[in-house]
Every structure is written in structure tokens, then in C-alpha cells.
């Protein structure tokens, strides 16, 4: 599996799509979490009916929750879903599985190496996202002359773990869909429709006091990802990140983490089984 991991990591590192997805993710964090809110706040300053308090989300001490807000409910999940799809789906469209599988490693070690490499790229992306968030929040607070205190180190570590788990869940969903459909197009299409549209529609229905629908919604990946992210901030920030319809309460962090881990395990296990048993045509 070691050789497969090195090869797969090299392939991801050299692939322009990886860089495009990663750089867009980082740029969107800077833009939507910091620059745009700061520009809006700056332009509203001095108006009589607008509160003059500097938004706490832009301060370095809150960068963990601010950055995490873009992972689950934001575009992070959609972007890494694309990355997960491409890591498998392109091999089908380029027919490169037949190249890899006629060498030595065997199917499961080969796919295992691929999974580890995607996991490593997600870890790097998570650290970079946190670093970009920290640096941007520091610059903005310096420009505004606000406090530049940092969150506790343990909080940052927990945040990194949660962020990686959220990304891993959606990358695993992409991996599973691409393996199921043996290609990228349908997997990306369906994955994005689910992540960006279907689940939020479902949550709107859940808000109509249906107990059954509300229970089901507690097992859904996007909701668990956003609720996990929301636990890193104050209740006000949590409400902003979760953006739950009225009547729904955030899921406990431990429950959300367990649900996401279960999704990763199930998606990857089914992908491995499908890949192990299907013919490569």
C-alpha cells in the first residue's frame, strides 16, 4: 500500500484539478468569511441606525469557528466532493485502472493507497484553510485596531480534527458515487444536487413540526457537518453557522462526529467492495 500511496499522492499533487479545487476553497474562505463582511461593515460605519460593534467572527480569537463555517454548510463540502469524485471517476474515463491493476499491488492495496492519499491532501487543505483564516483575521483585526488574541491550542486542534472529518465525509461521498457510477459526470451532478439542494429542502420540511422528518434529519450528512462546526463558537455564532429552520435544535457535537465517521466508513466500505468485485472493462 506504501507504493500506491506515494504514487497516488504524486498524481494528486501533479494534477491541476487538485490545485484548482484547493485554491478556490482557500480564496472563498478569505472572500466570504473575511473580506466581504469587512468591506460591508466598513462601508456601513458611521450610519446612525447600524450597531458600531466590530463583528466578533472577524477576530482572530474566533477564526476556528469562522473558517469551519465554510466547511460543512458552505462550499467546502461541495468542493471536496468534486475532489473525491475526480480521484476515482477520472480513472474510469481515462481507463487507467487497467494500467494500475495490471501492475503488482492488487485491487485493495491500490485503492487503499488512493484513499490514504486523498486523506493526506484533505489534511493539508484543512491546515492551509486554518492558516489562511488565521492570517486574514489577524490582518483585518490589525487594520481595525481590534484585539488580536488567539483561541486555545486545544481548540484549534479539535477544530482541525472536526474540519478534516467534515471534508473526509464529503470526499468519501464523492468517492462512493464515482465508484458506483464508474465515472465523474453523474457522480458530481448528483452529489452536488444532494449537498447543495436536497438536504436543505428536506430540513425545511422537517421544520413543519414533523417528528419523524426531524428524526431522520438528525442522520443526514450536511446537517451533522454544519452542526459539528457550529459547536466551536458562541451560541450566536452557532446559530449563524447552523442556519437551522425554526423548531430544529443543533445536534450534539459527539453525536454529529459519530454520524460523520459512520458515513465515511460506510461510503468507503461499499466503494472497496464494489471495486473489489466488479470487472474492469
Amino acid at each position: 500500500m506504501g507504493a500506491s500511496f506515494i504514487v497516488e499522492f504524486k498524481k494528486l499533487y501533479k494534477r491541476p484539478a487538485t490545485w484548482v479545487v484547493g485554491l478556490i476553497f482557500l480564496a472563498l474562505i478569505v472572500l466570504f468569511s473575511y473580506v466581504l463582511p469587512y468591506v460591508v461593515i466598513s462601508s456601513l460605519q458611521g450610519r446612525a441606525n447600524i450597531p458600531q460593534q466590530f463583528p466578533p467572527n472577524l477576530l482572530p480569537k474566533n477564526f476556528v469557528v469562522t473558517v469551519l463555517g465554510q466547511f460543512g454548510g458552505g462550499f467546502g463540502s461541495a468542493l471536496v466532493l468534486i475532489l473525491g469524485v475526480l480521484s476515482v471517476g477520472s480513472e474510469y474515463s481515462w481507463q487507467t485502472f487497467k494500467l494500475a491493476l495490471t501492475q503488482r499491488p492488487g485491487r485493495l492495496p491500490f485503492l487503499g493507497g488512493k484513499l490514504l492519499a486523498v486523506g493526506a491532501v484533505l489534511a493539508i487543505l484543512t491546515v492551509l484553510a486554518f492558516a489562511v483564516g488565521a492570517i486574514t483575521s489577524y490582518i483585518i483585526s490589525a487594520l481595525h485596531g481590534s484585539s488580536s488574541g488567539w483561541p486555545a491550542f486545544g481548540e484549534i486542534l479539535k477544530g482541525l480534527g472536526a474540519a478534516w472529518l467534515i471534508l473526509a465525509t464529503f470526499a468519501a461521498l464523492g468517492f462512493f458515487l464515482a465508484t458506483l457510477f464508474r465515472g465523474s459526470a453523474l457522480a458530481i451532478g448528483l452529489g452536488l444536487v444532494y449537498t447543495l439542494v436536497l438536504e436543505s429542502l428536506f430540513l425545511r420540511i422537517a421544520s413543519f413540526q414533523s417528528e419523524t422528518v426531524a428524526k431522520i434529519s438528525k442522520a443526514l450528512p450536511v446537517r451533522n457537518a454544519t452542526d459539528l462546526a457550529s459547536h466551536f463558537g458562541s451560541s450566536q455564532q452557532a446559530a449563524q453557522i447552523s442556519n437551522l429552520p425554526a423548531g430544529l435544535k443543533p445536534i450534539a457535537a459527539s453525536h454529529a462526529a459519530l454520524v460523520l465517521i459512520a458515513y465515511v466508513v460506510v461510503f468507503l466500505a461499499i466503494s472497496l467492495l464494489l471495486f473489489r468485485w466488479r470487472d474492469v472493462t
Binding site: A3, K10, R15, W94, K98, L99, L101, R104
Partner: protein
Amino acid sequence: MESAEERPPLVETRGLTKRYSSRITAVDDLYLSVRRGEVYGFLGPNGAGKTTTLRMLLGLIRPTSGSATVMGAPPGSPQSLDRVGSVVESPAFYPYLSGRDNLDVVARLCGVENPKKRVEKALEQVGLSGRASDKYKKYSLGMKQRLGVAAALLKDPELLILDEPTNGLDPKGMAEMRDLIKQVGQGERTVLLSSHLMSEVEQVCSRVGIIRKGRLRAEGSVAELRGKGGLYVKAEPLEEAARVLRSIEGVESVEIKDGAIHLITNPERASEISAKLFASGISVSELKAEQRSLEEVFLELTGEEEEV
């Protein structure tokens, strides 16, 4: 020392079958054996089951029934793949990587020692050293095929499986690819080459198996499949000439057809036979060597309705 015939075959299938549904049987009860050191041509029309067979031999497709051994091990097992290089259908590589990086990926996956050195050697072998840094997507079809062969050679394999390696190439590219196959097939290396091109198989292969509708219809050397040689004779008087020819020792059959005589004998006896006919007062207007082409044999075995 054991001869190639006595040693166990490198590839052996026993009743190998791949059925996709009750209506579609791609490979049907196939018995095949490829001996060490030979260039074996796997000949068949499009859709005959050649690629499916090769994919089963590489472990990419599971057979519905029957069994196969490749290098004495089950197809697709590390023990088998360790010593087998292959290009199945069109070569497949990562378009955003250079030719060299693609080979590096393959070298690391197959765990060769000193991958960088092996990659450079393989590039040199197929004449791609000068374009090794270019992205694969910029390669011509001929270059892609050659990179495919280079990847197959990285392991220095004992068995090379090539599926229609000249497909889509222009005549120059086809000639270069044939030369390359002859070159890599020298010595102890065994080559299993699938093709639907008769000339290619005749030029390159030492033994041929002809497959149609998933079943092996014939197997043997090109000469064996083409059958015994003969002579075509136009002479007057025809009946008298046939009588004289039947009396000559070593002439196996004499047949009068379309105003000429077709006889089965060694074509090198043409001058001797001409002299005997002349001595019997028979005037010979035409005498030439005659042998069925591999194409005729192929059409006979696979049916003329098949697309060739």
C-alpha cells in the same frame, strides 16, 4: 535441456468462459496454450472475444467458468503480474503527466528496483527519450502506443501481452510497431499478440490461434495453418498431363479445376516436374507455386460474413 514444447506453457486456459447474459457469451469454453519463447498470434475478427480473453488473463475480468494460469499462477495474482507486461486495447495513461512521470508511476506500482534507471531505459527502447518530458495528452497515437509498450517493458517481463498494438496507426507507425514487437520478442521473452490483421500476424508470429465467437477454431504455426504447398500447372493435353503427374512419386494429390491442374507437392520440385512433363511430350504454358494464404484460412474458419 527441455524444449519449449516440453516445458509447461506460460499461459494455459481450460474451458475459459465469460458470459455477460444468457444471450451474450464473449468467450466460450476456450482452451489455449502459449509456450515459452514464442510470439503467439491471437487472431480473430472484431468482437470474437480476443480482448475479453486477454483481460481475463490479466485478472481484470473474472471468468464465468473455466480456469486459467499465467506464469503458473492465477491471473491477476501478484505472482503472475510480477512477470507480465501488457497493453490492452488502446494505451491508457494520465493525460496531465509527462511520458516520464507516467512511466515512473507504473515503475513504482510494479515495484521495480531503481525505477528512474528502468524508466530511462524503457524510454530509450521505444525511442521516446526526446519527448519524455512532454505531457501525455500532447503525444500522437503512435507515441502513445510506444509509451504503452515502454510501460509493459518496465518489469523486463517474461511474458508480454499486446492487444491490437497497431490499431489506428498509419502504415509507417505500423511498420515501426512491428519492428518493435520483433525486437522485444527476441530471446527468451514470450509475446502474446492479439490482432485481426493477417499480414501483421504472418510477419511477426511463430504460432497462431484463430478465435471466432469466443471459441478457438484452429491453432498451429502459420505454415501448419496454411497447409501443404502445391503447384498450379496449365498444360496441353490436360488429361495426359494429369496422368503423368499422378505417376510422379511424392505428388500427394492431383486435381483438375477450371482448365488447370492443382497438385499438392513440395513447390521446390517445380523444375523437376516441368522437365518430366516436357519429356512426356506435354507442352506446359504456366507452372507456379501455390499455397493458401493465411487470410484464406482465416476466412474459411471465421466465415466470410465476418468483418475483417
